[in-house]
């Protein structure tokens, strides 16, 4: 559990006068679930975007499995084993949910076959199995744009999981999901992710979710990490409760 999978050191990135990353140092350990919390605009998504190659920091370095990944394209980083899901689910909206899943499987297995069908029996079965694990079998044949927000979030994460990453970065996996279904979705998510053994980093605003599922919590504040540790310890910190959770709860 203590071996470092991802290591970020001295990450700095500013948008105009706003410091989205102001010297971020963070280690993500093999197999852990690390929650990132903090108010809107603190730089949480920026960290994910830097790690996945979408944004390039002005200073600092990121190593994944001991090798530098800064400067690599998102495609190259995905191939190294870092997957991500999005705050706004990025599904192929004109495809069915099954096709979305199959396309993600094809991306891993080899997409360059113009004459064999995407939904060939083996990939269809694999895609159905994936959707089954995420509780999405019933909507497999539905168009992705017809899903409710909770199902969209799960499908988005399922596509990332289909790539079999070592590290999965999830940007607000429960935002926009109805309160009544939020815990059920997270239970499903955690069950699937634990079964795959993937290391997960997730940005989250719901402290109940964080307290229940995270192994460690990193508190982001104005581009810096204000606190880092086990949920029980961090979430009990008066400063965090006053300065971060209060703000986050209002956001």
């Amino acid at each position: 559990m203590s071996e470092v999978l991802l290591s970020a050191r001295g990450l700095r990135l500013a948008f105009g006068g706003v410091k989205a990353a102001d010297g971020i140092d963070l280690d993500v350990r093999h197999g852990e679930f690390l929650a990132i919390i903090g108010p809107n605009g603190a730089g949480k998504t920026t960290f994910i975007n830097m790690t996945t190659g979408y944004l390039r920091p002005q200073a600092g370095r990121i190593e994944f499995e001991g090798k530098p990944i800064l400067g690599l394209s998102p495609r190259a980083i995905v191939r190294r084993g870092i997957g991500r899901s999005f705050q706004l689910p990025q599904l192929f909206t004109e495809h069915t949910v099954l096709e979305n899943a199959a396309l993600a499987i094809a991306a891993r297995r080899g997409i360059w076959s113009p004459l064999a069908p995407l939904l060939r029996p083996r990939w269809r079965d694999e895609a159905m199995d994936l959707l089954d694990r995420f509780g999405l079998r019933a909507v497999a044949e539905a168009r992705a744009d017809a899903l409710n927000e909770g199902a969209r979030k799960l499908a988005d994460i399922a596509m990332a999981v289909a790539l079999e990453p070592s590290l999965l970065l999830m940007d607000e996996p429960t935002s926009g999901v109805a309160a009544a279904e939020k815990m059920a979705i997270v239970e499903t998510l955690v069950r699937v992710l634990r079964s795959t053994g993937v290391t997960a980093v997730f940005v989250e605003h719901d402290m109940d979710v964080v307290a229940r599922f995270a192994d460690r919590v990193a508190v982001w504040s104005q581009g810096r990490i204000a606190a880092l540790g086990p949920p029980a310890e961090v979430l009990a910190d008066p400063a965090v409760r006053r300065d971060v959770i209060g703000i986050a709860a209002d956001a």
Binding site: T52, S73, P74, R75, V78, R79, G83, R84, Q90, L91, F92, T93, E94, H95, E99, A102, L103, A104, A106, A107, R108, G110, I111, W112, S113, P114, L115, A116, P117, L118, L119, M159, A160, L163
Partner: protein, 307 residues
């Protein structure tokens, strides 16, 4: 039995019956099939959410390959692959640059390349004979040179055979991982990249395939009309291809052929009925399609079939 193959078989049968019953329609239908093959390429790009306003350049490349080569190599069975090869080569070179762009930039850059080609064809008189064009004569078919009526049937048969071949190829391709990824460019290109799939390469493959089909379509037009002019590369010719794609509908590989046949028939009959205003009739048809049948003729048929 699936409905699309059945409809394709019915359509092929109807075309043969029309060509047999009304002999002068054979020429029109051969041109329609040739343009339908080229419009299949437009359909591929539409699936990726991109519109090419310059795709007639590939028809021109195919047609001029035939025109240039025919005096020394009149064999149709060699001219067709040669035209396809030239268009594919140009498609690859131009495509490597164009797939970096999207939407209006993609469309207008295609137009720009087509207009450069048009200008060259028009101005380089010593080579292209400018607007006079080049006559294509003396074609042979598997070494033979049959009488004109037989040649017309042979050309019609070749066009129909290639239409079926490319229609099938496009259907299979669109159902493949590459084809579904192509459609993904339209809705979520970002996701493709975060799946490790290079969207540009996916689009490039489709672009090169569309160039190939454009070249074949152009070669068939040259072999059928027996005369090639720079007009085939003009921007209105590219517009015509987009027009046909919208008219036929992008929902199926049958759409381009439905659109091309409807387009050529409307044009012929409208020109005969109202010689001065046939473009107005075509425009009205397109307006009606856009307003009342956004899925084109194919959309209307498939809706009726589902009902």
């Amino acid at each position: 039995m699936k409905r699309e193959p059945l409809l394709a078989a019915l359509g092929a049968f109807a075309l043969i019956a029309c060509a047999w019953a009304v002999p002068w329609l054979k020429f029109i239908l051969t041109i329609a099939l040739a343009k339908g093959i080229a419009v299949l390429g437009i359909l591929l790009l539409l699936r990726a959410g991109q519109v090419s306003f310059g795709h007639s350049m590939f028809l021109a490349l195919g047609a001029y390959t035939v025109a240039f080569m025919a005096p020394t190599e009149p064999e149709v069975l060699l001219l067709l692959p040669a035209a396809a090869l030239v268009a594919t080569g140009f498609g690859l070179v131009i495509g490597l640059f164009l797939v970096r762009y999207r939407d209006i930039f993609f469309g207008m850059l295609n137009l720009a390349f087509a207009m450069v080609l048009y200008s060259l064809l028009e101005k380089l008189y010593a080579i292209t004979k400018g607007t006079d064009g080049i006559r294509v004569a003396g074609l042979t078919f598997a070494g033979t040179q049959p009488e004109r009526p037989v040649q017309e049937w042979v050309m019609f048969g070749i066009a129909l055979g290639l239409a079926i071949l490319f229609g099938l190829l496009v259907s299979v391709y669109l159902a493949s991982p590459m084809g579904r990824a192509l459609a993904g460019i339209k809705t979520r290109e970002t996701r493709l990249e975060f799946m490790g799939v290079p969207a540009r390469r996916v689009l490039l493959f489709a672009y090169v395939l569309s160039a190939l089909m454009g070249g074949v379509g152009g070669a068939l037009v040259a072999m059928t009309t027996r005369h090639v002019t720079p007009q085939i590369a003009y921007w209105t010719a590219s517009g015509e291809l987009v027009f046909i794609a919208i008219l036929g509908g992008a929902g199926s590989a049958l759409g381009p052929f439905l659109g091309a046949t409807a387009f050529e028939l409307v044009r012929v009959y409208a020109a005969a009925a109202v010689a001065e205003a046939w473009q107005m009739i075509l425009g009205a048809v397109l307006l009606v399609v856009i307003l009342f049948a956004p899925g084109g003729v194919w959309g209307l048929l498939s809706r009726r079939w589902r009902a």
